[in-house]
Symmetry: C2
Subunit: 87 residues, 2 copies
């Protein structure tokens, strides 16, 4: 499991460091990540409304940036649904 | 990222299905998973007190079983610390 966790951390950092804070995802970074890394788990990610809705549902302090913990909640929900676990 | 997420889901299911509910981790299943899968992220996992403390901090409804979402919070915290993100 540790190698899989390390992959997720490293990928988050790669996308988060494209602009501004290297520890948070801007909306643009988030969209780029979702489109390229989560093509099966998030449908229609090229639609700005899909990204806007996801972003606002995750960005708990509404600062327009996603922290690792905020992002982690998204992939947990996606994994839970995909894995067939009840919410 | 999706393949890493799938690994985490599949490993959770493998350990969760060892006894009782195949969708939740009993304390024994949780300890087996932590010892074998998270040896660097969780130290001293063979110590029952370490597992007891982790389990009680995660088991939000105190039913003695960890759901996937409860488990996901743990690895998110471990990944966040390991990745150098502020909490």
């Amino acid at each position: 499991m540790e190698s899989a966790i390390n992959v997720l951390v490293a990928q988050f950092k790669t996308f988060a460091s494209k602009d501004g804070s290297s520890h948070t995802l801007s909306k643009e970074e988030f969209q780029t990540l979702v489109v390229s890394q989560l093509p099966n788990l998030v449908k229609n990610a090229s639609d700005p409304a899909v990204i806007d809705n996801l972003m606002s549902s995750l960005d708990e302090n509404n600062d327009g940036e996603l922290t690792f913990q905020e992002f982690w909640q998204l992939i947990g929900k996606l994994a839970s649904t995909h894995g067939g676990f009840s919410q």
